[in-house]
């Protein structure tokens, strides 16, 4: 094949390869240029929020921002103006319509005259109960049982107490003997029950009468949440352990549907609709060392979608469809003040950092605008999150592929234009019979010389063979020159059928390769 053609063939193959790869990247949608940004709408000083929710607590039809920390609670309207501010000692709060007036009430479980519960309805505070036989506040939830709403309190010693909407004690119990770390409504056959978990790993599901439906235990527990992931009327209870155990239980009987060890303590678990497919729900899990995992639950078990990371302990996870593609993005904050958005495929996009650790994140409409509300160690901030992308960017691999292909083609053309490097062996031979015969004599003398040197021990075995091979090769060339010039010559050499080395006629063993020559 011509030396000028080969570079172009190689170039053609490479160009095909480059363009195929570029095409795969371009048409798979894997290449995008997208970014998320945020602008601060307003912020208010508020230290270390423990609970935060965008919800209408004033009954005016407009959502407000409810926020609570270890010394009290505040409610801000859509423009950030404080409309309620109350001090409490070590309060725990929840939201729910206790009095049946159609608007959300704030239920505060705090240490007043003993353990006490207040209900704040439309900014009006009323004491529901006090001197309750329960310990230091840890969790509170409003459960809408079929028999009526109940306020369930959990203390830091595993004690549980249920109150009626008017403050009367209904039932009590114990879940382990450590701090209650999770309390959520769990559906069983469509009926509301309450799932409660304590720090020592005990999980118990109670019905509306306070009877235990089932109880179980696992490794020390940090988080417990209940969701009906497949909307079959039976909730799934999700737990995160102190030593990395991530489990999904069936709320019906406590059977384990899925479990995985994540290698670090689970610090947060939330449901986020990542893939936009309502037939499956996704769970995003945050770890104490910054690990982030996304799982998809299909109704019977879960599978891992992707993993990512932040630089510190994940403190909060929230879901929001920022780019309006029908899929929620996970907005995740960590203890170092970083806030990042993870898309459905796990791509991380950072939002501006905060000066202190993120404590709570919630999403909702304030004053008609959709905001991501972020609370850190010192303030609460409402952010307008935006999304932008470069249109047509997915085709840039094709552009890059074309540039690379053009360069490859240029290189091939240049290399084809360079003549072949000449062989470093030059034979200057006169074709006359006399000259060829003289050359033949000279070569035979040289061969005799080399053999004499070998006998005298003046040349090593390898060097002898190498020189002999070259001289015999020259002799064979001389014979060929004789023939091509049309002169008669008695052939004295032949080529070894095994290695191709030139040998003298009559030899039955090749000196170069050691093979026996039969013919």
């Amino acid at each position: 094949m011509s030396r000028k053609i080969i570079p172009f063939i190689v170039a053609f193959v490479l160009i095909c390869l480059v363009m195929v790869v570029a095409g795969v990247f371009a048409f798979s949608g894997a290449v995008t240029a997208e970014k998320f940004g945020s602008t601060v709408a307003w912020s208010q000083p508020f230290a270390a929020a423990e609970s935060m929710k965008v919800i209408d607590v004033t009954g005016d039809g407009q959502d407000d921002l409810f926020i609570q920390n270890s010394s009290g609670l505040n409610v801000y309207d859509g423009s950030g103006t404080s409309i309620l501010g109350l001090d409490y000692a070590s309060p725990k709060t929840t939201l729910g319509d206790v009095n049946g007036d159609g608007s959300e009430d704030i239920i505060v479980y705090y240490m007043g005259v003993g353990a006490a519960v207040d209900v704040i309805s439309k900014s009006s505070v009323s004491n529901l109960a006090q001197a309750l036989s329960i310990g230091f506040p840890s969790r509170v939830a409003v459960l809408r049982f079929a028999s009526g709403s109940q306020i369930v309190l959990g203390d830091n010693g595993g004690g549980v107490l249920a109150l009626s909407a008017d403050g009367a004690s209904l039932w009590s119990g114990n879940v382990g003997s450590a701090e209650i770390r999770g309390m959520d409504d769990a559906l069983i056959g469509g009926a509301v029950n309450v799932a409660i978990a304590s720090n020592d790993g005990t999980i118990t599901v109670f019905n509306s009468s306070g009877e235990t439906v089932w109880a179980g235990s696992q490794e020390q527990l940090r988080r417990m949440r209940a969701f009906d992931l497949n909307a079959d009327g039976n909730s799934e209870i999700i737990t995160g352990g102190e030593y990395g155990l991530f489990r999904i239980y069936s709320a019906v009987d406590g059977s384990i549907l899925f479990e995985k060890s994540l290698g670090q303590a689970v610090s947060e678990v939330r449901e986020v609709e990542l893939n936009g497919d309502p037939s499956s729900r996704e769970i995003v899990v945050g770890g104490k060392d910054g690990g982030v995992w996304a799982f998809s639950f299909n109704g019977s078990t879960a599978s891992q979608m992707w993993t990512g990371s932040l630089s510190d302990k994940v403190t909060e996870i929230a879901g929001l469809d920022i780019n309006e593609d029908g899929k929620q993005e996970a907005v995740i904050g960590d203890d170092a003040g970083n806030v990042a958005i993870f898309t459905d495929n796990g791509t991380r996009n950072n939002l501006p950092d905060h000066s202190s650790g993120i404590t709570r994140i919630d999403i909702g409409k304030l004053g008609g605008e959709r905001y991501v509300v972020v609370a850190d160690g010192s303030e609460v901030q409402t952010n307008k999150v935006n999304f932008s992308s470069i249109p047509g960017f997915q085709f840039t691999p094709l552009v890059v592929g074309l540039i690379v292909s053009a360069v490859i083609l240029v290189i091939a053309a240049i290399l084809a234009s360079i003549p072949a490097r000449p062989e470093m062996k030059l034979s200057l031979q006169d074709k006359s019979r006399e000259s060829l015969e003289a050359e033949r004599r000279m070569l035979k003398e040289s061969i005799a010389d080399v053999e004499r040197l070998r006998k005298a021990g003046e040349v090593s075995g390898d060097a002898y063979l190498s020189r002999l091979k070259r001289l015999r090769g020259d002799l064979a060339e001389n014979e060929a020159a004789f023939k091509s010039a049309g002169h008669q010559v008695k052939a004295e050499t032949f080529a070894c059928p095994h290695c191709g080395g030139t040998l003298e006629l009559g030899m039955d063993k090749c000196e170069y390769c050691g093979q026996v020559i039969l013919a």
């Binding site: 360079i418 030059l426 200057l428 006169d430 006399e434 040349v459 090593s460 020189r467």
Partner: protein, 314 residues
């Protein structure tokens, strides 16, 4: 952070190395010395069996052809460096996108592929580089040119000019070991061999040979720490030998030994080690302690050797 800095440092070293490799390709700055610091030359082997003018023409043509190959590659030597910069330009697009808040690696990958293409092209261009021709190549032409009128009409010079290297494995004459079991290789390189039937009826045989010694690399164990250390190869010296054999035409010459050209005498860079004139054949072995001898030294020696001949009266 440490991993990032380490990765950045490694990437930086690779990029700088690549830049200088391509820059040296562009400036045609290549290493031309061997491990002993000796200049290396084009490894040419010339088989000689032709008339002197044809040999000289052939040798000149060969030089022209190799230079043509080299110069045809020279005009493209800056292209790999330009491709390297084009790769950087492509990568900067991603840097710009990053500054604008977007994350993209498409242009970085493209730039990287361009760098690979630049390396491939630079290597191909370097392959077209040819080392300088040895002074022996041009010196041999001078010898042939000088002797051209002394050649019997219609005959040819026979022999070879072997400039493939003096320390090749196929030129090992013998190996010796010293008391410490270190191996020394003795090389024998007959780089020029010429036979010619002369105008005066004499037959001249000339062999120029370089003899070289090299100690092979070996492992040496330290007596104190017990660690083994690889000692590199060492060049132990080189000398030139010249063998001249003249079969004298008894009808034209009588051999007359003289004092100016006898055993032990210095003739130019050579010293006559052996001289034998038995049977009407002059055999001379001369040795030069110099690593290189010029064509003028060889020609001067031949001229001196002819002082042993006395022309008979017609």
């Amino acid at each position: 952070m440490e991993a990032f800095l380490c990765g950045t440092a490694i990437a930086g070293i690779i990029v700088i190395s690549l830049f200088f490799y391509l820059l040296n390709t562009a400036r045609k700055k290549v290493k031309t010395t061997n491990q002993f610091g000796k200049k290396e030359f084009a490894p040419v082997y010339v088989s000689i069996a032709d008339k002197p003018d044809a040999i000289i023409r052939g040798m000149n043509k060969f030089v022209t052809e190799t230079q043509k190959t080299e110069t045809s590659g020279d005009k493209w030597r800056w292209i790999p460096l330009l491709i390297f910069f084009a790769g950087i330009g492509l990568m900067l697009v991603d840097v710009l996108l990053f500054l604008l808040g977007y994350t993209s690696f498409v242009f970085i990958i493209g730039g990287f592929v361009l760098w690979i293409a630049a390396i491939v092209m630079a290597r191909s261009l370097r392959k077209s580089d040819i080392l300088d021709f040895s002074p022996r190549y041009h010196g041999t032409k001078e010898i042939l040119h000088t002797l051209r009128d002394d050649l019997k009409p219609g005959t040819t010079f026979l022999g070879h000019l072997d400039l493939t290297g003096s320390m090749l494995q196929n030129k090992v004459a013998r190996e010796t070991k010293d008391t410490q079991q270190r191996t020394t290789q003795h090389f024998s390189d007959p780089w020029l061999s010429l036979k010619a039937k002369l105008y005066d009826g004499n037959v001249l045989r000339l062999t120029a040979m370089q003899k070289t010694k090299k100690r092979k690399s070996y492992w040496k164990r330290s007596r104190i720490s017990g660690k083994s250390k690889l000692k590199p190869e060492k060049f132990k010296g080189s000398q030139q030998e010249l063998k001249v054999r003249i079969v004298v035409n008894p009808e034209a010459y009588a051999i007359r030994p003289n004092h100016t050209f006898s055993t032990g005498k210095d003739v130019g860079k050579y010293r006559v080690e052996q001289l034998n004139t038995d049977g009407g054949i002059i055999n001379i072995l001369a040795v030069s302690p110099f690593e290189e001898v010029a064509q003028t030294d060889i020609l001067a020696f031949l001229k001196s050797a002819y002082s042993l001949l006395e022309r008979k009266a017609a």
